[in-house]
Amino acid sequence: MSESDVIDYEIENNEAKMGIISTKNLSKIYNPDTIPVHALRNVNLDFEVGEFTTVKGPSGSGKTTLLNMIGGLDKPTEGSVEIDGIQITGMKESKLIDFRLQNIGFVFQSYNLIPVFTAYENVSFIMLLQKRPKKEMEMRAKELLEAVGLKDKYHSRPKELSGGEQQRVAVARALASQPKFILADEPTANLDTKSAMNLLDMMEKMNREENVTFIFSSHDQRVIDRAKRVITMVDGAIESDETR
């Protein structure tokens, strides 16, 4: 880092609004040495707390890659990701894990849960990782499961739950850590219409009532229809970014 970079960094830091994710010239090239795949091309996006956003686009357009970058699960080839003015690109892994634990919740497409834990344990485990007091952990896990409509399934294991119920447990788990952002990669991909609608209703309600931020990737029209902001990607680049 040169001296001017440091100054820039500090200025940005001061200017940074709390609760903002921004990507700067984000590019990702897979297999740069063999058959290079440009999964992301120079992406510049800002996400704010309280958003309910869907990233859409055809298969292979880079949606998953983008979400992984934002969540710090993958490293960009160029550019950077900042959350609240803190650059997570290039952060040491153990620090990044802590950072993710406090700031970002994940809901993946499927098989999200720890198979040997019950719904209740899956939700409380993440709070255990955050070292929260036991009392609070128990109360919050129960509250959240109730909120996602699984009051009578506390002690069911994932394999005893339907796909929709599993996704709802995953959402409850993502909420448990009280993150600023919840990243959900195709959360409805494996769900029938009724379950998908239920899940979306629930997430919408959380967004409305508790200002929880959701960023989805999806090519599911049901999800796109509900979004307040729709970002369209084509071939790794942002084609459009509309707020309704």
Binding site: R100, F108, I114, V116, E121, F125, R173
Partner: protein
């Protein structure tokens, strides 16, 4: 909750856990069995050698080891035995002997024989010779009769009640010859002994070899094997100025000890191969487990678990499985070994002939010793720990997204 995670994962795929546990168990039982059988066989060889041939400790004239001849005998009477017993109270038995080679002849045939002048009581305490009599009876000291190996008797075509002629050289080149009645035949499972030995009493042997008041060696048995060397040292000290030589069994049968050592080496090699085969089997199941759970590992890492914590948990899982395998292997091994210890394997048919040819007995005794368990247990333990490190290393180095792609 971490332990809960580990514990439930162990029992998540019960079949795989059972396969892993039982392959480790099988390895342990196999290793214990082979090692015990081998140890038992070696102990038996050594016992045969010491009980029938050399004794555990031997006192000889100082020239006898160089030149095992009747000329290098020692003076002996029963007071000498008592004196030896007084030197160390851990001595169980003192067995005087005269040993020589002669020609033994029946009416038609003659054969070389190992002729042993013995004290029947002391000898019997050493090797239960009297229980091995299969025809006739044991002689009384000085009654001019002999007991011989059944094999030698049939080669000479003689039976109980027949006469046996012994021809050879006595002390200082005197001619030694005598004719004896055969009072009994003994059977020893080792051909070496069965086909060679003729026993007669010490007074008769002294007369035959013209060596009144002399014997060639004294065999000494300790109360317990572990007292052997201390007793030898005490004897050495107490008898230091009597021109005697004190030898322990391992000094007397170096060839056998070398052979046993060689045998052990080849068993080690075989066991090494067995370990590798079983090790790969266990590695296979662990590898499968790891690959199946990559996605789960990825999720745990992405929701905020540290790699080292996850690695420790998975290590505990696999470690527990190994321990379970080893403990159950010990338990089953102990049962199997005890069974064969009390009911030794009896060989029959071709196998028997082959082994007898090689100088083995038809029963295969087992040895049960704690150090076998310790040694085999730790080898397999270390092996499984190394195998169990695989998932740990995988977790430490894996890419969080690796599993979601596959």
């Amino acid at each position: 909750m971490y332990l809960k995670l580990a514990w439930r994962n162990i029992w998540r795929n019960k079949r795989r856990t059972l396969i892993t546990v039982s392959s480790i168990m099988f390895a342990v039982v196999c290793a214990l069995f082979i090692e015990s059988l081998e140890r038992g066989g070696h102990n038996q060889m050594i016992n045969n050698m010491t009980n029938f041939h050399t004794g555990h400790i031997q006192i000889q004239d100082e020239r006898y080891e160089e030149e095992p001849s009747l000329d290098n005998s020692i003076e002996y009477d029963s007071s000498f035995s008592e004196r030896i017993l007084e030197i160390d109270d851990r001595i169980y038995n003192v067995v005087p002997r005269i040993e020589s080679f002669m020609l033994a002849a029946g009416e038609e045939q003659s054969r070389p024989a190992m002729v042993l002048g013995i004290d029947p009581e002391a000898e019997n305490r050493l090797n239960e010779l009297k229980n091995r009599i299969v025809a006739g009876r044991f002689f009384e000291p000085g009654d001019g009769s002999v007991v011989m190996g059944e094999g030698l008797a049939s080669r000479l075509n003689v039976a109980v009640g027949d006469s046996l002629v012994l021809l050879g050289q006595g002390r200082f080149g005197m001619t030694a010859s005598g004719i004896y009645e055969i009072s009994g035949l003994f059977r020893h499972p080792l051909r070496e002994f069965n086909n060679q030995i003729v026993y007669l009493s010490i007074p008769d042997a002294q007369w035959l070899f013209s060596m009144e008041g002399m014997i060639t060696n004294i065999l000494i048995t300790p109360d317990q094997l572990k007292y052997n060397d201390p007793i030898a040292e005490n004897l050495e000290r107490a008898l230091s100025d009597e021109n005697l030589n004190i030898l322990t069994w391992n000094e007397m049968i170096p060839e056998l000890i070398d052979a046993i050592e060689f045998d052990r080496m080849s068993t080690r090699v075989f066991m090494g191969i067995l370990y590798v085969v079983i090790g790969f089997g266990i590695f296979g199941t662990i590898l499968m487990m790891t690959l199946e759970r990559l996605r789960e590992f990825g999720i745990l890492l992405s929701v905020g678990m540290y790699r080292w914590k996850l690695a420790v948990i998975v290590f505990i899982e696999t470690f527990f499985i190994s321990i379970l395998g080893i403990i159950s292997g010990f338990a089953l091994g102990l049962v199997v070994l005890s069974y064969f210890y009390f009911n030794p394997i009896q060989l029959t048919g071709d196998m028997l002939e082959m082994l007898e040819e090689m100088g083995f007995e038809p029963t295969l005794p087992m040895a049960i010793a704690p150090d076998i368990f310790m040694w085999q247990g730790s080898v397999i333990f270390v092996m499984s720990i190394i195998i169990c490190l695989y998932p740990t290393v995988k977790i430490a180095t894996m890419d969080i997204l690796e599993a979601s792609r596959s």
